[in-house]
Amino acid sequence: MKNDRILLAHGVGGRQTRQLIENILLKYFRDPLLKKLPDSASLNLSRDSKDICFTTDSYIVKPIFFPGGDIGKLSICGTINDLAVSGARPLFISCSFIIEEGFGMAEFERIVKSMADTAERNSVRIVTGDTKVVDSRSGDGIFITTSGIGLKRQSVHMDFSRIRPGDAIIISGVPGMHELAIINARENLNFRSNLKSDCASVYGLVSKILDASKRVRFMRDPTRGGVAAVLNEIVSNLKYGIKIYEEKIPVTDMVSSFCEILGFDILNLASEGRVVVVADRYDCEKVLEVMRQHPSGKKSSVIGYVTDEFSGKVVMRTRFGGERFVEMPAGRQLPRIC
């Protein structure tokens, strides 16, 4: 511990991130609201305002402009999504910039415009912010932190504790496209494709889901660590397990080609515009139907269900009838030779 250092692996949402949070952050930050590590905290400001959700997130991305988006759009969508999957309507956003000395003014303007456009399209208001500039070489272009406040829908009760065996696991589309697009856009890999990040707000889709069913148990957007991290996080809070089916996971030829070439597991790759839904099995068809009708959920699929068969584990039944564990991803996804 004494000689340990923060590695890049601590920031990728897998097992190391979890350890960093549990071993250091939760050791000192002991608020009961924080304990469950929700996407956003439900605040109890006064007796009649207990339906406020609050969230924050920092955005670092290389390259800053990528196919399908940019750091600005990402920073607004990400915060909208954290509120949306908590069952809240996103209302107000704050933004804070850390900019490296020498950063292009035109690029900065492009990012800010992209944030404004994204906010407007999603009817959220950017109401406060901050700007700091650091010496050249003590930043990496630009970092953005956004915080958001939203109002929780009436009669929405989503929580790990409501999940039961038999509940369906639904995903809203092909996972991993954001991370692949980012990797693809990084020059040192030298791949070309028209693969685009899935970066988008999921609020519209989530509202349709919540309109359709009162028995949605839990939702999360599979960002860092991908679907594998979300599913493992769910079971780590439960005495149940999850079983998923490989052939039910939506993919495209391009996405599976990319994974094949670089040796990646699609379940470990980040999305920025997808949602994983856990819903009561009796509402599953209904939920799936509204998801598929929505433009951002056309490829929605029920990929598995909650089971009491293996506690705390995610198991995947493969195309060939074999079974294997899906583990919490460890470390960054790196291109491999073997």
Binding site: F191, S193, N194, S256, S257, E260, I261, I337
Partner: protein, 72 residues
């Protein structure tokens, strides 16, 4: 060991070929394989083509794959 995938040759410039797999493209070095032309398939490993596939083989493969897709 050794991740390697078959990719289709799109165009060739001296010992570099642009290759494609379902829309994922890259320039690869083709100096380790014999004479190839656009439309051929090569196995790609760490940015090098390491073997040429017989065209008939690759095409039968594509056809079988299409049939398989229709069947499921």
């Amino acid at each position: 060991m050794c991740l390697a995938v078959p990719m289709k040759v799109i165009r060739i410039n001296k010992n570099i070929a642009e290759v494609d797999l379902a829309g994922v493209r890259r320039n690869v070095d083709i100096s380790l394989v014999g004479k190839i032309k656009p439309g051929d398939y090569v196995i790609v490993h760490v940015g090098f083509a390491i073997q040429k596939l017989k065209k008939t083989d690759a095409e039968t493969t594509l056809k079988l794959f299409a049939e398989m897709k229709n069947a499921t």
